[in-house]
Subunit: 250 residues, 2 copies
Amino acid sequence: MENNDVIFGKNAVTEALISGNREINKILISKNIHTDNKIARIKELASERGIVFQFVGREKFQPYDEFNHQGVIAQISPIKYMDLDEFLQTKSHTNSSLVILDGVEDVHNLGAIVRTCVCAGVDGIIIPSRRNVQVNSTVEKTSAGAINHIPIIKVNSLVNAVQTLKDNNWWVIATDASAKDNYYDVKYNDMNFAIIMGAEHAGVSKSLLKQSDFVIKIPMQNSFNSLNVSNALSAIIFEALRQKLTEKRK
Amino acid sequence: MENNDVIFGKNAVTEALISGNREINKILISKNIHTDNKIARIKELASERGIVFQFVGREKFQPYDEFNHQGVIAQISPIKYMDLDEFLQTKSHTNSSLVILDGVEDVHNLGAIVRTCVCAGVDGIIIPSRRNVQVNSTVEKTSAGAINHIPIIKVNSLVNAVQTLKDNNWWVIATDASAKDNYYDVKYNDMNFAIIMGAEHAGVSKSLLKQSDFVIKIPMQNSFNSLNVSNALSAIIFEALRQKLTEKRK
């Protein structure tokens, strides 16, 4: 299994089969689980694509028992990260959006962020190669396979990446609890924008705040103001989408 | 420790100390952890309130090692659920909001939902006494203590609860992927409303959909349309807040 990742769970395996972005080496299904519709679909998709699936004993799943694997795992080629330059050149961007993660540490949060971005039509997610959670098996599982539906762009320096975006006429928006403007004060239409979400505790780093064109906050209604990063992103990114969709109708 | 819950982690313990809603029996701090600002604050708050804290060896934490306890636990009286009648009578409600959870199973989701509701100023969360995750130690931890800042209303029947709300002039809004209206088409101002969020897979149950005054969806931008329930709620509840705050300014 060198050079292979393992992904877990019925949805993650199904999505990997459907998307076809990743080379699947082999699918293992536990002999001890009931063949429901989802398992039947996995077998069908695997057959169509000529991918080996094996029914194996429970002991093969032991190394993965800390994950909720549902009796299905796939050995899969590692996720292909995209370069920022490659992303910017793949198409001419208008009204595009990116999410930049500055130090998100929790794998569950990253999974939820990926799902939210895919559902809201975000065009890519930028993560730094250090001091941020990387895409591992838990993220694949938590993202329920969404990870295969959006480019993940890995960069060595977020500061350089933000500069590159600005040089390419992208607007950069950072989130910060002490910002003056609320997130809904920004007009997200008619521009390419990137939203920077900070680490769970430290927030967006100072150097990135300085570089940003806008700094926004979510107005908190309680002295207890600790919103989970994926939930904060959800409020912001769906507001941007709301503006786009309602503007269109006019 | 009969009749006591255990809560884990620096934030959860601090929030429980601050809120004072819960009787704290004893706080245990690991001898092996570094006394940072948060630990110092916990000691200070506990002293002020005359609550015993003990420094104990690592082995005392062993039963809880599956949780990220950060070397701090508190033995605490179980959360006090509120009755719906009690909630409705505590004050005269205008522009109030409730979130109703119909079969949410994942403890991390419940924790994130509680945090989102507190930050967005929701007035209470209704959960059914069966077929929904209950408030346990993991929820306390995941909610980072937010659970102490919002009434959790437990009801035997969601159908009856929704009827009671309607009888008291609350508007009931259900979420459903096949709804015609988008969540931002509803005008949330000038009414008391309750939003029903469904189970991760099954969605809102048919009987509740029938009872609801509005059924709304989040417009998905991708064939992969599996938004996490807490992220879906975040988009909706912050849109309601946006309307309320921007309407005020006019």
